[in-house]
């Protein structure tokens, strides 16, 4: 077609109009071109009914949905809803209680335990939970190799069962026998008094053998530098717990819904959403804005104001220890007199009142009183600045001395919500007796941890621990069981006593041994136990009951909602 004459240039107004029209048309065409996956009839309860969706703010994504390959609190918080172990926890305590195993019996020699399993339990994929499934799980752990054995991957199995199939001489586990469907015997190669309580850890929860195989749960280690998560750990966890996994938008939220065939009481909640909010301040604001129903590790400074505003503050019984480490590689701190002087210089009660959450207890030793081996009559160093000055003079420092004080910044741990405040408080107290500190703040990870645990270059420092289950070795064995750069001392007597106590099979005998060890530690005074801080949770007014547990064994079926 030929078109002679002047070409017509569209005016800017026409161009604009055409563009607008174009955009509108394409928008219309695009709209609805993708199928919405919305389910019909969600949230259509009648007026006054309870909203059965519970939103909890987590401080981070779970590291893995496979609890056997996890050791962090946020992974365990989620896996406690999806999975159950053979052994549970007596509500509100740290003591073992029946769960998937209705009862158990340990042989005289402590080397074999027979569990009677609950019947009629199914995994979320419909397969049966039985003795065979139990053995499958135990054998799975035992047969891990290579990077699967790394502490960052399978911390709990490695540290409690000590060895794998390729290192049987160290291994605690030996074999598993299924006696029919509902009875199983676990044979150990070495006595392990903490065996039954240890099974309450989510890391030893029972997982569906079918799902573990189908989604290649053990296929990790795909890269040179770091293990990849398996398909199972990324999005296909299958347990026997009250909630089953729905979806996980990394960094955003993780959703669970009730498992209709759950064997136990299903409670009120039908949907659980874990919203990932890493900033503590932001978690509090999200609660105030009503986007979440609750969060963990409330800052001590926030508890009073939140409670006044009508929020429910739920403290946990403390299962933690915060201590002041003293590096014996520093000549002054190697002197027992100086360490005693520091112990006398600290007013623990004032520290607790001024810097730690309500419910915190002053510590006399390195384990909370609910743990076996707690010694009521342990040697204590009462707050006595005059005595402290005398001891310093006796040690040859009549005018005090200067020492580096390492503390982490911008971090909250369950045993230390605000390290900066603890540091300031202790600095002032030490100043009273003439000990001048050089502040050495560092970012928690990896700077601080590396400096304090991996180098001898530190003086006084703050650190602590949150217990995993009722096991004394899990506290004092971790701290003082071997020579460490953190404390810089070598006390073969103490190391030997701890090793011996760990291997004892008789619980009473073991408890007595730990009581003695606690006294031994108190006299040696390698570090100062400061407090057992009680972490607390905050909830919206509609959350009328929450099953706070010292060991974080909190299953959401026990939550009660009023609206």
């Amino acid at each position: 077609m030929s078109n002679s004459g002047t070409p017509v240039r569209p005016s800017p107004a026409k161009k604009r109009a055409a563009l607008t029209a174009g955009i509108s048309i394409s928008a219309l065409l695009l709209t609805g071109c993708v199928q919405s996956q919305r389910e019909e009839n969600t949230g259509t309860e009648g007026e006054g009914a309870v909203d059965t969706t519970f939103v909890f703010a987590a401080s981070a994504d779970p590291k893995s949905l496979d609890p056997a390959f996890a050791s962090d609190g946020e992974s365990f918080r989620v896996s406690r809803q999806i999975f159950e172990g053979l052994v549970g926890v007596e509500p509100g305590t740290a003591d073992p209680a029946p769960l998937l195993a209705e009862s158990w019996e340990t042989a005289e020699d402590g080397l074999s335990t027979t569990f009677a399993l609950k019947e009629g339990v199914t995994f979320h994929d419909g397969t049966d939970f039985n003795a065979e499934a139990v053995c499958f799980n135990f054998d799975r752990w035992y047969n891990w190799t290579g990077v699967q054995q790394a502490e960052t991957v399978s911390y709990y199995y490695g540290s409690l069962f000590r060895g794998f199939a390729d290192s049987p001489e160290e291994a605690v586990y030996e074999s598993c026998e299924a006696n029919g469907d509902s009875e199983v015997t676990i044979n150990l190669a070495k006595p392990f008094a903490g065996f039954v309580p240890a099974l309450s850890l989510p890391a030893f929860a029972m997982q569906s053998p079918t799902a573990l195989e189908e989604f290649s749960a053990d296929e990790i280690g795909g890269s040179e530098e770091s293990p990849t998560l398996s398909e199972y750990a990324l999005g296909n966890p299958v347990g026997t717990g009250p909630f089953k996994f729905d979806s996980w938008e990394v960094g955003q939220q993780l959703e669970l819904s009730i498992y209709e065939d759950y064997w136990g009481d299903k409670g009120q909640i039908t949907n659980t959403i874990f919203r990932i909010i890493d900033d503590p301040q932001a978690r509090r604001q999200a609660l105030e804005a009503g986007t979440i129903d609750g969060y963990d590790l409330v800052a001590p400074a926030d508890t009073a104001s939140l409670a006044d505003a009508g929020y429910n503050i739920v403290p946990r019984d403390p299962f933690t220890i915060l201590y002041l480490g003293m590096n014996h590689a520093v000549p002054e701190l190697a002197d027992p007199l100086v360490r005693q002087a520091i112990a006398h210089a600290i007013d623990k009660q004032a520290l607790v009142d001024q810097t730690l959450p309500e419910g915190t207890e002053v510590a006399t030793q390195f384990i909370p009183d609910v743990v076996d081996g707690f010694n009521e009559e342990v040697t204590t160093y009462d707050f006595d600045p005059e005595r402290a000055k005398e001891l310093l003079a006796e040690a040859g420092y009549p005018d005090g001395f200067e020492v580096q004080f390492n503390y982490p910044t911008n971090v909250s741990r369950p045993y230390m919500p605000t390290p900066e405040q603890v540091f300031t408080n202790l600095t002032a107290q030490l100043g009273e007796v003439g000990i001048t500190v050089t502040p050495a703040p560092a970012a928690w990870s990896p700077d601080y941890l590396n400096q304090v645990q991996g180098t001898p270059d530190h003086g006084l420092h703050l650190l602590g621990w949150t217990g995993d289950y009722n096991d004394t070795d899990n506290f004092i064995g971790v701290f003082f069981g071997q020579e460490k750069l953190e404390f810089g001392f070598n006390n073969p007597e103490l190391f030997a006593a701890l090793t011996e106590a760990r291997g004892m099979t008789d619980r009473e005998e073991q408890t007595a041994a730990y009581e003695e060890i606690n006294e031994q530690i108190a006299e040696f005074n390698p570090a100062i136990p400061l407090a057992h801080p009680a972490p607390s949770l905050a909830f919206a007014p509609r959350v009328t009951s929450y099953p706070a547990s010292p060991v974080n064994d909190e299953v959401f079926t026990d939550i009660e909602l009023s609206e």
């Binding site: 389910e39 959403i273 400096q451 645990q453």
Partner: protein, 334 residues
Amino acid sequence: MLRVIGKRIALLIPTLFGLSILLFLWVRSLPGGPATALLGEKATPEAVARVNELYGFDRPLLTQYFTYIGKLLQGDFGVSINTGRPVLEEFATRFPATIELTVIALIFAIGVGIPLGYFAARYYGRFVDHSSVVLSLIGITVPVFFLAFILKYLFAIQWPILPPDGRQNPRIDATHVTDFYVLDGLLTGEWDAAWDAFLHLILPGLALGTIPLAIIVRITRASVLEVQNADYVRTARAKGLLERTIRGRFVLRNAMLPVVTTIGLQLGLLISGAVLTETVFAFNGIGRFLRDAIFGLDYPVLQGFIIFIAILYAFINLIVDLSYSVIDPRVRVQ
């Protein structure tokens, strides 16, 4: 034009290569290591040593570097040490969030900044001018995180009209197709989800857009002031052209060159601002992910991210350069 683009890309290759070496050595010279960060209180020296051995961090740096670069050349950015997922996949799921946020911030900065700067210059020395100067000074001096806190406190807590955190209300059942949440809502016809996602963008968008806004105001003002006193504008006026034509075709268009350059440069700043904004608003984008990578010394993520940003930066600059010739036909790309 194509030759220019080709040449720019060719120049990028040695730059990225050099950058990869520097980066590799730098992240590994930082104290501590990913094993310490991952293990936390459980980081005994033996545990750290064993993890380093199993992960391969104890091998000679040169070996590690060649393994890394070999994979990188095949498009494999490695696996995040913190999350156990491929780095590229992590970027892909979070990048749409940051793009959404950046676009809102830029629309705000450009949409308000250019008119404000223009009117400040036009009414030079009068009230509009003075207030725009004061506002832009405040915008430049107030730190992003502080502004973010204030905005959040005022409009999400004190007067809760906007959501305080996240990208979408957790209770909304939304279908996600592209991971651009607003777009997803429009595509699926889930209007409430789109609207909710948009509301979630407003506060972080304002916080993030304020610094570029302030800079754009100042540059526009200065540039318009210079152009409106130029000889050719005086000539145009002497010719008796309509004031509207003079302002639109002569002043504004000619004043835009430095502004466009500035906007290009601001894009890089927006990414760094996003680290702070996304943290305050628990907004799941690249910025927050990068922060976690820094604290966890997540080598593969840090390396991948910086290389990725370098490429992005290079392309933004190329686009800015090419856009000059569109705005000012006298500038020819050579």
